[in-house]
């Protein structure tokens, strides 16, 4: 049997708004398969996003969803999780939403180690608004606001998340579609703040400015740059030049925020 995605989608929502070949649809399908693997109760699962093409994702999925303000997914999601710690809370959005306007919320959600999973679709650009550069646009690359090449160095989202205290960090790509659900499953199962960065493609605003002739060229690039962490162990620094590690990059056990907060409430009650 073919996988039944429709079961998880709100009726009448397809075709979705994403452009031909946009990887956001591939990521959404990965998330749906992960939700299916974990048999998540849709009534007890919330997907929270900010603003952007990537942030349109929750609108398609038939569970509890929250489409919030630009960069504020982590803030709203934290509110949901604090009010209902038993809920599965999943955040999603783009590189612009998560690392520019939402960068502050992102690092503090990592620091708190609150039990939520953040899927960040990194297409290196502000897709929705016509291709302005984001903090993830690589140096030298073109955006509508950097027509002569971007002078800024880009963020490494996974490293940023690890540095800020996230306790599970993984990376995949839209090309490696069958890995996406597996990474998300592990991330959701992890107790604490988990980040899954998916390297993605925006043919419409990023690809065409940066000399990718087609979606296929963008997909081939994702295929070529990705190196699984295990394979990287056997490679030299020279061989790893220009490559990006994929798979589970970091994992540790640490006290989880809603549980620690519950203890604070107990202490406060006991002191009365």
């Amino acid at each position: 049997m073919a996988f039944d995605y429709e079961k998880y989608l709100r009726p009448g929502k397809l075709p979705h708004i994403w452009c031909p070949g946009c990887g956001h649809g591939i990521v959404m399908k990965g998330l749906i398969r992960a939700m299916d693997t974990l048999k998540l109760d849709m009534k007890n699962t919330a997907i929270v996003s900010g603003i952007g093409c990537a942030s349109r994702l929750p609108g398609y999925i038939d569970c509890c969803t929250l489409h919030t303000a630009h960069g504020r997914a982590a803030a709203f999601a934290t509110g949901v999780k604090m009010a209902k710690p038993e809920m599965n809370v999943i955040l999603c959005g783009g590189d612009g939403d998560g690392t520019a306007i939402g960068g502050n919320h992102f690092i503090h959600a990592c620091r708190r180690n609150i039990d939520m999973t953040y899927i960040i679709m990194n297409n290196y650009i502000y897709g929705m608004t016509g291709g302005q550069f984001s903090p993830c646009t690589p140096t030298g690359h073109k955006a509508s606001t950097t027509p002569y090449g971007n002078p800024d160095p880009g963020f490494d989202i996974a490293k940023l998340a690890i540095g800020a205290g996230a306790t599970f960090v993984a990376r995949g790509t839209a090309f490696h579609a069958n890995q996406i659900d597996k990474l998300i499953v592990e991330a959701i199962q992890h107790k604490g703040f988990s980040v899954v960065e998916i390297l993605d493609d925006c043919p419409t605003t990023y690809g065409r400015r940066n000399k990718y002739k087609s979606v296929i060229e963008m997909m081939n690039r994702l295929k070529e740059v990705a190196v699984p962490v295990k394979a990287a162990e056997k490679m030299t620094a020279e061989q790893l030049k220009g490559k990006v590690l994929t798979g589970v990059l970091y994992k540790e056990e640490k006290p989880e925020y809603t549980e620690e907060f519950a203890k604070v409430i107990e202490r406060a009650k006991a002191s009365k």
């Binding site: 073919a2 994403w18 031909p20 070949g21 591939i26 399908k29 979606v215 997909m219």
Partner: protein
């Protein structure tokens, strides 16, 4: 023993003609017909599901049995 062919369903109204499934099918089963994808050589399908996995648009389904 007769080989059972998989079923490949294409939902034309969802297909945006991105070529991803055509390009990355290892046995070149699919082709573009105008703006949408079509099955060219079902016999060659090895049921790897790569087309279904990578289609961003829920537009192609492979049933293996």
């Amino acid at each position: 023993m007769e080989k059972t062919l998989p079923k490949i369903e294409i939902i034309e109204k969802y297909c945006k003609g991105c070529h991803i499934c055509v390009e990355f099918c290892p046995t070149k089963v699919l082709e573009m017909k105008g703006f949408v994808v079509a099955v060219k050589n079902l016999e060659a399908c090895i049921k790897c599901m790569q087309c279904e996995l990578r289609c961003p648009d829920f537009a192609i389904k492979v049933s293996a049995e």
